[in-house]
Subunit: 351 residues, 2 copies
């Protein structure tokens, strides 16, 4: 109780975000010429519930009590994507931005400390952007459990984000911002970790097949596309490239947390797809050595099949201090520019 | 009437379900000049869980088994909004689009049959748009229950949508599209009800106080604003106007399903805020007579206090066949144009 009160005071005393309601446009930036903007869902199927008890509820304040029969037909397994199409895109293909575990597509929008995010960056570079939420995350919606998803979902604690996202060591975490001790040189805005916590999304560990099926449907609809993908999403992107190589023009795997096992997946099918692997700092921390070994195994198999696999190891380039949340770190646009340069070198921009 | 036929014909000339992956831009439409685009979360507070058992999980495919301690600190109660700011807005205030129950902000994007939605319409009319997801809906995320929210959530069945949204009578519902019998003249694209089902979001009935608090925080941050709000959202918008009348420039209440009780709410505080009440057809169906009585009571109290309350009763204007989902009906842009005209008459556009 005492602990919570202290934190509430700390939050109240020091506003974590700028007073303006949103990140300012880059100074002097020209308007983005947008042809159309919208959002849609796809994938999934009708599933039916029966045999559950009937209840009574009040769904509108002041409204009547209603009898609620939860049995019936639902859409289950769909995902969501939002597009911004440019009047004159410079990129040859749509750019898809796929989120990682425990997050939704909002991770590509404003950063936790209120700067513009990678969606804006790549729009300004001339890409049509498609920002999605995987099945059971965010606007994709989620179905009843355990009827439609085994198990219960996971909710990431702030401390778990601190550790898994390599913001600092175990003894450096504190709910009180004044007592947090991040890794030296840390670029993630740890004073704004609450805003990362605000965008955290519950997730299940048993839904990979449905998530993959929805991503595959997404690529059939929108591809061929360039995919920039983060963390847990990378495994789905690599598998999607194997499943439909004609629908993927390139993959930028930012801090991949897993990849298909070359002993079981037909990695060679993705040989025509160039992949850029982007890694931050502090890679000896937490589960990351094991995660990276899995990804490196995939990379080697992809290369052995003739695929192009480039590595953007930021510390090796002299860029130190990046966390797992590179798109949120204080040099996010600097890293985005390196990715943009790679896309240009791969011939994915016009002119 | 002559006007309506012209618009209907224009819509009919374009296929309602384009084969392309997204709704096409209006033919010959000029690009939208966008200054900035992004998304952010706000509101809520740190809440702490303790005493729950530790589990072991595998969060990345091929990754290691990890010990998962679900106890810890979480953000609870926040909401999400996405903004598109124009380079040269014609509107005097930002336009907020608030969704109804069981839906997220996606209801303002493409329609279930693949046309552009009201977000696009109002962007093209010169409004900065802010599309939000209420607490526990969509990208706002939701916290563990029953620890942080009493009860379990509700999931709307396709049949319940059919009845509550006034698409047809009970005996007209069928899962097989060929056997569906909507109300005569129905304008909702009932063949695409699955796409409405795809965007359906679980909701709780016990979260009104947290949802209201987050909306109030949202208005403090972005207002003064014009609010276009649907169904369950109307109750929150009316209450928000009472709570902070200086932050609300006008409300367009589309098919309000509830409103604050004038016997308990200080309705007179909102007297300076003009309100347009928009109603579709088939209002004698299901819970709607009771819902509308509640809203009319609020309207009368608001008017009695000196507030301006206008009614756009579509059937009374000779526009028949609108469902509860007016922004998805086949004349959605026609109704949006009537709303836009009202905003102009209220002095909310420049020049």
């Amino acid at each position: 109780m005492k602990r919570r009160r202290a934190i509430t005071l700390a939050l109240a005393a020091a506003p974590l975000r700028p007073a303006s309601a949103q990140a300012p446009a880059p100074a002097g930036a020209a308007p983005i010429q947008v042809a159309s903007i919208g959002g849609l869902h796809f994938g999934g199927e009708v599933r039916t519930l029966s045999g559950l008890p009937v209840r009574e509820v009040q769904t509108a304040a002041g409204g009547p009590i209603r009898r609620l029969d939860v049995n019936g037909d639902f859409l289950v397994g769909q995902m969501y994507a939002q597009y911004v199409k440019l009047a004159n895109p410079r990129a040859r293909h749509p750019l898809m931005l796929w989120h990682g575990g425990g997050l939704s597509g909002t991770c590509w929008e404003d950063t936790p400390d209120g700067r513009t995010g990678w969606q804006s960056f790549f729009l300004r570079q001339g890409h049509d952007t498609w920002v999605s939420d995987a099945f059971e995350r965010g606007r994709a919606s989620w179905p009843r459990f355990p009827e439609f998803i085994q198990e219960e979902p996971l909710f990431r604690t702030l401390r778990e984000a601190w550790l898994t996202f390599r913001f600092g060591a175990e003894d450096g975490w504190a709910l009180d911002p004044a007592r947090r001790r991040p890794f030296p040189g840390q670029r993630f805005p740890v004073d704004a970790i609450e805003n990362l916590g605000r965008q955290a999304i519950p997730r299940w560990t048993t839904t990979n097949p449905q998530i993959q099926a929805a991503y595959d449907a997404y690529l059939q609809r929108v591809g061929p596309a360039v995919i920039i993908v983060h963390s847990q999403g990378c495994n789905f992107a690599f598998q999607a490239a194997i499943n439909a190589p004609d629908r993927v023009a390139a993959i930028v795997a930012v801090e991949a947390s897993g990849a298909p096992d070359p002993a079981r997946a037909e990695v060679a099918r993705a040989r025509g797809i160039p992949i850029l692997y982007v890694w931050g700092d502090y890679m000896d921390q937490g589960p990351w050595p094991a995660f990276r070994r899995t990804v490196d195994r995939f990379m080697e198999a992809h290369r052995a099949a003739g695929g192009r696999g480039d590595v953007l190891d930021l510390p090796a380039r002299g860029i130190r201090g990046n966390s797992h949340m590179i798109m949120h770190d204080d040099n996010s646009d600097e890293v985005a520019a390196l990715i943009q340069a790679w896309l240009g070198e791969r011939g994915l921009m016009r002119g």
